[in-house]
C-alpha cells in the first residue's frame, strides 16, 4: 500500500448534516444473555437525502435507526455508547417528553406492518385527526378532518371521506400502508424513517407504495432513512446506502457507486448473490455459512471473516477489527484489504 490511505474516525463530513449517528452501541439484556444488536454504527443524513440502510435480519439496521426516535424500549435495550445529533441536539440524552414532541413534529415513522401501528378500535378518521391536532390544538376537529381527507386523497386512496369512517381491518394491506404514509406526512416532518415499508406487501402493491414514497419525498423534501433487506428497494429509492452486518456499518457510498464498485466483500457478495445477477440456468453466487448470532461475546476481528471470499486465510481478519477507510470521495468501507476490491 503506497498511497497511504487515511483511516477515518468521526471525521466531519464536508456537507450539511441534519442527523448524525456516531459510534452507536446498543445491547439488549435478555434471559439468555446480552444481545449485541448494534456494535459501533455511524452514519449521517443530509437534508432531503434518502439514506438506505440495508442488511439481513439481526444486522442491527432497525435498532440503529429507531434508537434516534426513542422508540426502542429501555430496558431491555441499553444504549452503551454513542451519540445521535439532530441539528446539534443530542437525541440519546433527550427527555422522553422532548422525544415525543420530536416524533410528532420533526420525525415520522412508517412501519413494516401498519396493522400493529394503527389502533384497531378507532376509525382511520379519528386516528388521523388526533395525529394532526396533537401538534396543533388550534386546528378545529372539522378542519383536521378536512385535512385528513385531503391527505388520504394525496396518497391515492379513492373515496377518502368514506375511508375516514372505516376501521383499519376494513382496509387491504396496501391501503393501510397508504394511511400510514398519509399520517407520516401530515405534519410535514423533516425526517421520515421507513422500516421495511413494503416487505409485507405483494409485488404489485409494493410497486405502488414505492412510487408513493418517491412522490411523498419529492413533495416534502424530507430526509429519509429507508430500512430494508431488499437491494431492489434500495435501487429504486436511495441516494446513499449504508450496508450493515453484525451491528456495524461495513460500507457507505452513493447508491450508484455501491452497485458499480462495491468495496466491502460482504456488499460485493450480497450484490452477486441476487438471483437476477446470474443468467437463467446458472448457479447463483452463494455466501457460505450464516450471519453471526448477536448473542454472547463478540469475537475479535471482522464479523464477516468466517464467510469472506477475500480473506484468504489471513490472520489479521480474525484478530483485529477493521477500521472504516475512506476508499473514495464519500465512500467508506471497513475492510483491512479494501484495496483488493475489484476495480
Amino acid at each position: 500500500m503506497s498511497a497511504a490511505p487515511r483511516a477515518v474516525a468521526g471525521l466531519e463530513p464536508a456537507r450539511p448534516t441534519l442527523l448524525r449517528v456516531e459510534d452507536l452501541v446498543v445491547e439488549f439484556v435478555t434471559r439468555d444473555g446480552v444481545v449485541h444488536a448494534v456494535n459501533g454504527a455511524s452514519f449521517d443524513l443530509g437534508p432531503g437525502e434518502t439514506l438506505g440502510i440495508v442488511g439481513e435480519s439481526g444486522s442491527g439496521k432497525s435498532v440503529s435507526a429507531m434508537s434516534v426516535t426513542g422508540l426502542i424500549p429501555s430496558p431491555p435495550a441499553r444504549i452503551v455508547r454513542g451519540a445521535a445529533y439532530l441539528d446539534g441536539e443530542d437525541l440519546l440524552t433527550a427527555s422522553s417528553r422532548r422525544l415525543r414532541e420530536l416524533r410528532g413534529r420533526e420525525i415520522a415513522v412508517i412501519f413494516q406492518d401498519p396493522m400493529t401501528a394503527l389502533n384497531p378500535v378507532f376509525t382511520i378518521g379519528s386516528q388521523m385527526t388526533e395525529a394532526i391536532r396533537v401538534n396543533d390544538r388550534a386546528v378545529s376537529r372539522r378542519a383536521a378532518r378536512d385535512r385528513a381527507a385531503d391527505l388520504l386523497a394525496r396518497v391515492g386512496i379513492p373515496r377518502p371521506r368514506e375511508r375516514l369512517q372505516q376501521y383499519p381491518f376494513e382496509l387491504s394491506g396496501g391501503m393501510r400502508q397508504r394511511v400510514m404514509i398519509a399520517m407520516a406526512i401530515a405534519n410535514r416532518p423533516r425526517i421520515l424513517i421507513a422500516d421495511e415499508p413494503t416487505t409485507a406487501l405483494d409485488v404489485t402493491v409494493q410497486a405502488q407504495i414505492l412510487d408513493l414514497l418517491a412522490l411523498a419525498q419529492e413533495e416534502l423534501q424530507a430526509a429519509t432513512i429507508l430500512i430494508t433487506h431488499d437491494l431492489g428497494v434500495i435501487a429504486e429509492l436511495a441516494d446513499r446506502v449504508a450496508v450493515m452486518y453484525a451491528g456495524r456499518v461495513v460500507e457507505t457510498a452513493a447508491v450508484g457507486d455501491l452497485f458499480d464498485h462495491p468495496v466491502h466483500p460482504y456488499t460485493e457478495a450480497l450484490l452477486a448473490s441476487r438471483p437476477a445477477a446470474v443468467p437463467d440456468g446458472e448457479d447463483m453466487f452463494q455466501i457460505p455459512g450464516v450471519p453471526p448470532t448477536p448473542l454472547g461475546d463478540l469475537p475479535p476481528g471482522c464479523a464477516f471473516a468466517p464467510r469472506c471470499h477475500r480473506r484468504d486465510g489471513r490472520a489479521r481478519c480474525v484478530t483485529e477489527s477493521p477500521a472504516s477507510w475512506d476508499v473514495a470521495p464519500r465512500h467508506r468501507a471497513a475492510c483491512h484489504f479494501w484495496t483488493e476490491a475489484p476495480a
Partner: protein, 330 residues
C-alpha cells in the same frame, strides 16, 4: 417425456369464513401437467390459491372437483390409507423451517423418520442412508444428534429437504421454500434445490410469490390469479414475452436491479382501489384491474388459447410485447 403429474380442471372451494353462506373458490378450475424430471414454477400474489393447489395435489385437501393423476394413476378420490404408499413418491417441502420440524427429534430421527414409517431399511442401513442424505444436502454428518433449535434457518431448510428426499421421491412439491430465509442464505438453498433436481432427475412443483426465485429453478412457469392459471409457458417466454396483461403487470412491478434503471418501471400499474378478493361476477376476473379490457371481457370468461408453441394464456386480448404497459405509463 412422460407425464408424471396431470391436474385436470381442479377445484378446491372452502366454506366462506364469516358470511356463513357461499364458498371461497380458492382454486377454480386449474389444469397443468408436469413431466418426469421437469420443474414447474407456480407463481402469484398472496391469496391467488397457489398454496392450495400444492396441498390439494398432495391430497392434504380433498378436491372439490376435477382430477389428479400421478404416475398414471387417478388419485383424486383415494383415501389417506391408499395415499400413504404414494406419498413415498411425492414429498412436500414447507416454507417455514421453524414450525415444520418436530423440536424434540434429533436430525437422525427427523431425516430417518420417513424411512422408518415406510419400513424401507434395517436400522443399520437407515443410519447409513441418513448420513448419505445429510451429505447430499450439504450438512455436516457429525451433526446427527443435534436438535432443530441448534440450527440456523437455512440449515433447518436443508434438514427439511433431506427428509423429503429420504424415500427417493419422483415429485417434490415446494411451497415457498426460501421465503423465510435470509437473503445471503437463499442462494445456498436455491443452488442446492437446482442441483438435487438435476442430479436426481426430480420433478418439481415450485410454488412462490417471488418471480426472480421461480425463474431460477423452473423449466416452465404458470402464473395464477384468483384461483386460475392465467398464463403458462416455458420460463424464457414468460419472462421475456409475457402475453397476459396480469403477467406483464407482475413483471413490470418488480423493483429495478440497478439505480440507473430508475423510472423504467411504469408507475401506477393497477388500480389501487381494487382488492383482489373483489371477484367480478362475470367475465374475466382480471378485467377491473386490466389496462386493456373491453366489453367482451365483462361478459365472457376468457378461455385458454394457444398464443405460441407451448404457450397458453386466458385472455381475450393476448399481447406479445409492451403495448398494454406503455398505455399505463403517465
Amino acid at each position: 417425456m412422460t407425464e408424471l403429474l396431470v391436474v385436470d380442471g381442479l377445484h378446491k372451494h372452502f366454506p366462506a369464513p364469516r358470511r356463513g353462506v357461499g364458498t371461497v373458490r380458492a382454486v377454480d378450475g386449474i389444469s397443468f401437467a408436469i413431466d418426469a424430471g421437469e420443474a414447474l414454477g407456480l407463481v402469484g400474489e398472496s391469496g391467488c390459491g397457489k398454496s392450495t393447489v400444492a396441498r390439494t395435489v398432495m391430497r392434504l385437501y380433498q378436491p372439490t372437483d376435477g382430477r389428479i393423476r400421478f404416475a398414471g394413476r387417478d388419485i383424486t378420490r383415494l383415501s389417506r390409507r391408499e395415499m400413504r404408499p404414494l406419498w413415498r413418491d411425492m414429498q412436500m417441502v414447507y416454507q417455514d423451517p421453524y414450525s415444520s420440524l418436530d423440536p424434540r427429534m434429533t436430525v437422525t430421527e427427523l431425516v430417518g423418520e420417513p424411512l422408518r414409517i415406510h419400513r424401507r431399511h434395517t436400522p443399520f442401513d437407515r443410519r447409513r442412508r441418513v448420513v448419505e442424505l445429510l451429505e447430499l444436502v450439504g450438512l455436516d454428518p457429525t451433526f446427527t444428534h443435534r436438535y432443530p433449535h441448534e440450527f440456523s434457518g437455512g440449515q433447518r431448510q436443508r434438514i427439511g429437504i433431506a427428509r423429503a428426499l429420504a424415500l427417493d421421491p419422483r415429485l417434490l412439491i415446494l411451497d415457498e421454500p426460501v421465503s423465510a430465509l435470509d437473503v445471503s442464505v437463499q442462494a445456498q438453498v436455491l443452488n442446492l434445490l437446482r442441483s438435487v433436481q438435476k442430479t436426481l432427475g426430480l420433478a418439481f412443483l415450485f410454488v412462490s410469490h417471488d418471480l426472480a426465485v421461480v425463474r431460477h429453478v423452473s423449466h416452465r412457469v404458470a402464473v395464477m390469479y384468483l384461483g386460475r392459471i392465467v398464463e403458462m409457458a416455458d420460463v424464457e417466454t414468460v419472462y421475456s414475452a409475457p402475453s397476459h396483461p396480469y403477467t406483464r403487470a407482475l413483471l413490470a412491478a418488480v423493483p429495478v436491479q440497478h439505480p440507473s434503471e430508475r423510472g423504467r418501471r411504469p408507475r401506477a400499474l393497477l388500480d389501487p382501489g381494487r382488492r383482489d378478493a373483489d371477484e367480478p361476477a362475470s367475465g374475466c376476473r382480471f378485467r377491473d384491474r386490466c389496462p386493456v379490457s373491453t366489453a367482451v371481457c365483462r361478459d365472457v370468461d376468457p378461455p385458454y388459447r394457444l398464443v405460441g408453441p407451448g404457450h397458453v394464456a386466458a385472455c381475450h386480448h393476448p399481447g406479445t410485447s409492451e403495448p398494454a404497459m406503455t398505455g399505463a405509463t403517465p
